[in-house]
C-alpha cells in the first residue's frame, strides 16, 4: 500500500483542524484534574521549603524585612500621613496582599514554561499549572499573615469589625491575579523575554499601587481613572480601610475595579485556551 505519490503540498482547507473551546467543558475537565492540581500544589510547596533551612519562615521574612526598610527609610524621609496608625502596620497590611499578587504573577507567568516536559507526556488541562502556582503562593500569603498578627500584638491593635469585607476584596484580587497569570503564562511561552519586562513592571507596580502611601495621596479627580488603570489599587486600599481604619471600602472605586478584574479573568482565560493549542509545538 503506497500512497506517497498522491499527497498534495498542503492539506485542503476544509480539513483544517479547529478546536472548539467551551467554558463548561473546560470547567468539567479542570474538575476531573483536581487530584493533579492538588499534587502539583503540594509539590510546589514541598519543593520550595524542603531545601530551605528556615522552611516556612521564608514566606514571612520578605514582607517583614521590606516593612522594616520602609519604616526606617521611607517614613523618615518623606512624611506619609497614616491617620494616626503606626507606619509598620499601615504598610504591612498592604504589603501582604501585594506580595501575594506579585509573586503569584511572577511565579505563574513561568508556570507553563517550566512544566513543558510534564505537559508533553500526558494530556491535562493546561490551566492546572498556573492555577496550582497561584494556590501555593496563596499559602505563603496566609503564612505572612502571622506577621500581621505579631504587629497587632506589638501595637495592641485589633482588626476592625469592617474586616468582614476582606473575603470580597480577596475575591476581586484573586480574579485579577488569575486573569493576569493566564495572560502572562501563555504569552511567555511564545515570547520568552516577556519575563524580564514583567519583573520591571512588577517593580513599578509596587510604587504605582497605594502600598507605601494611602490612596488619598492621589488627587480626587484622578482616582477613578487610576483605579481603572490599576484595578489592584482600590483593593489594596480597601484592605487597609476595612482592617485598620474601620471604614467601608470605597465602593465608587472598588466596583469599577471589580468589573475590570473579572473582565481580565474572562479575557485571560480565553486567550490562554486559544494559545494553549500551540504550547507543545514550541517546547
Amino acid at each position: 500500500m503506497r500512497v506517497s505519490s498522491s499527497i498534495p503540498d498542503a492539506p485542503p482547507a476544509e480539513l483544517r483542524f479547529r478546536r472548539r473551546i467551551s467554558v463548561v467543558e473546560s470547567a468539567r475537565e479542570l474538575w476531573r484534574a483536581r487530584e493533579f492540581v492538588r499534587a502539583l500544589f503540594e509539590r510546589q510547596l514541598r519543593a520550595r521549603y524542603k531545601q530551605a533551612f528556615l522552611g516556612f519562615a521564608w514566606a514571612i521574612i520578605p514582607p517583614l524585612i521590606f516593612m522594616v526598610v520602609l519604616t526606617t527609610f521611607v517614613q523618615h524621609a518623606v512624611n506619609i500621613p497614616t491617620g494616626g496608625i503606626p507606619y509598620p502596620l499601615f504598610s504591612y497590611v498592604a504589603l501582604v496582599p501585594w506580595t501575594f499578587f506579585s509573586s503569584a504573577v511572577s511565579g505563574g507567568a513561568n508556570s507553563i514554561v517550566t512544566s513543558l516536559d510534564v505537559m508533553n507526556k500526558m494530556y491535562v488541562p493546561r490551566e492546572v499549572f498556573p492555577i496550582s502556582t497561584v494556590l501555593s503562593t496563596g499559602v505563603d500569603a496566609l503564612i505572612s499573615l502571622l506577621g500581621l498578627g505579631i504587629l497587632f500584638g506589638v501595637y495592641s491593635f485589633a482588626p476592625k469589625p469592617t474586616s468582614v469585607w476582606v473575603p470580597l476584596l480577596f475575591l476581586i484580587q484573586l480574579a485579577l491575579t488569575l486573569g493576569i497569570v493566564f495572560i502572562m503564562s501563555s504569552l511567555v511561552v511564545y515570547f520568552r523575554d516577556l519575563r524580564y519586562a514583567m519583573s520591571v513592571i512588577l517593580q513599578l507596580g509596587l510604587f504605582a499601587t497605594p502600598i507605601l502611601y494611602g490612596i488619598d495621596r492621589v488627587p480626587q479627580s484622578l482616582r477613578l481613572v487610576y483605579s481603572l488603570i490599576n484595578p489592584l489599587a482600590p483593593v489594596i486600599d480597601g484592605y487597609r480601610r476595612v482592617v485598620i481604619l474601620g471604614q467601608d471600602p470605597a465602593w465608587g472605586l472598588l466596583l469599577p475595579s471589580a468589573v475590570v478584574s473579572f473582565a481580565v479573568l474572562v479575557l485571560g482565560f480565553r486567550l490562554f485556551k486559544r494559545l494553549e493549542t500551540g504550547f507543545s509545538d514550541i517546547a
Binding site: 500500500m1 503506497r2 500512497v3 506517497s4 499527497i7 498534495p8 498542503a10 492539506p11 485542503p12 480539513l15 483544517r16 483542524f17 478546536r19 476531573r32 487530584e35 493533579f36 492538588r38 499534587a39 502539583l40 503540594e42 509539590r43 514541598r46 519543593a47 524542603k50 531545601q51 512544566s115 516536559d117 510534564v118 505537559m119 508533553n120 507526556k121 500526558m122 494530556y123 491535562v124 511561552v189 511564545y190 515570547f191 520568552r192 523575554d193 516577556l194 493549542t277 500551540g278 507543545s280 509545538d281 514550541i282
Partner: protein, 395 residues
Amino acid sequence: MRRGGIVVDRVWKRFRADRRRTLLRDELERLMARLHDEQRGWTWALRDVSFTAEPGDSIGIVGRNGSGKTTLLRLLAGVMYPYAGRVELYGKLGTLINMSAGLHPDLTGQENIYIQGSLIGLKRKEIARRFDEIVAFAELENAIRRQVKFYSSGMMLRLGFSTAAFLDPDVLLVDEVLAAGDAAFQQKCLDRTRDKILSGTTLVFVSHDLQSVEGMCRKGIWLRDGVIEAAGSVREAVGEYRDWVEKLEIGYRERLRRDGTARIVKMQVTGPEGNGSRSGELLEIRAVVESPESTEGALYMGVSEGPSRPIFVLQHDISLRHGETEARCVIPHLPLPRGRFYVWVGFFGKSGQEYLPWQPATEFDVSGPDLHPTPQGIVRLAPVQVPTAWEVGPP
C-alpha cells in the same frame, strides 16, 4: 467506536523550520514573513496520515529519526494538536513517553510517585493501594525516600515506568523509552507491556528495535519523512522498511571497508552444487586473501543480518602464505531463514596484530521458509533456523 479504538484521519502537522527561538524579536520577524507567504518558514512533520485501530490491536511504528513517529505519538496522546485532520482516541489512555520527564529532583521517589500517579488520573487512595507494588516493580525499596536528584538515570527510568505501568489503560502508547534501562529491566517492561496487550489493551509502539516491533505488534506502519510509506501486517511494513534501510546501508558498508596489510581478492558464497543458498542445506564460503608476507594467525568469518546485527562468528587458525591463500569454510546445514545476510571477514595475528581489519566482504540471499511464527509479544528472537524433528503422541 468501542473503548480502545483509535481513528487517525488525514492528519497534517507542521513545525517551524527556522531556529525555533522564541524571543519577541524573532516573533516580529516571523510576523513580517507571514504577511508575505503563509507557508514559508514551516516544514511538514506529518502529511496526510491516516490509520485506524480496533480495540486490542497492536501497531508498531517504524522509521528513521525525524520521520514523525514521536510527533504522531504526541498527537495521539493529545498533548499536541494537528494542523489539519482528525485524531480520535477512545477510552483511558496510558503513555510511556519520555518517562523521567516531570520527575521533580528535589522531591523523594515516594512524593514523585504520587504526582505521576495523579497525572495519569489515579486517585490518591488508588496510588496508596498500589504503592508497594509500584516500588517493588521498580526495585527501589531502599531508595524510595531519597530525593530523586540522587537517583541514577536507570533508577529514574524505573520509577517512571513502574508508575505508568500500574494503571489499566485502554490504549497504551509506548515510545522508545526502554533503551536506558538494563537488560533485565527492559525484559520486565516488555513482559508487562505484553500482559497489557493480552488483556485487550490497544498498543501503539514506536521503536528502532525492529525485532521488538515484530515480536510485539501485529500491524505495522512505516513512516518516511512524515508520510505513511507502507502499512499492513507488521511483517510487510517492517520488511519493506528493512529493505529500504539496507539499500541506504550499501554506501555505509563501503565506508566501513578499511585497509590492512592483507586484502581480500575474492569472496564467494555458494549453496549446494554451486546454486543459491537454501535454509538447512550446505553452504560454502570461499575467501581468497592476498598477503605481502607469510604469517600465522586467526581467520574470522561472521554472518550478520543487515550490517549491524551479527548472528554468528566462526574462527579458524590458519597461516597465510606470501601471495594468495584460499580459505574454504563449509557449513553443512545452514541455520538461517529466508533473507539477506552479510559476510564479514578479518585476519588477526597471534598477538592481535590487525592484518586484515574486520569488515563486511559480501552479501548473499538465502531462500527457504520464513521463521516459525512466535506467540505474540515474545521479543528478541534471533534469526536462526533450527532443523527439527517432531513426534507427538501419548507419552
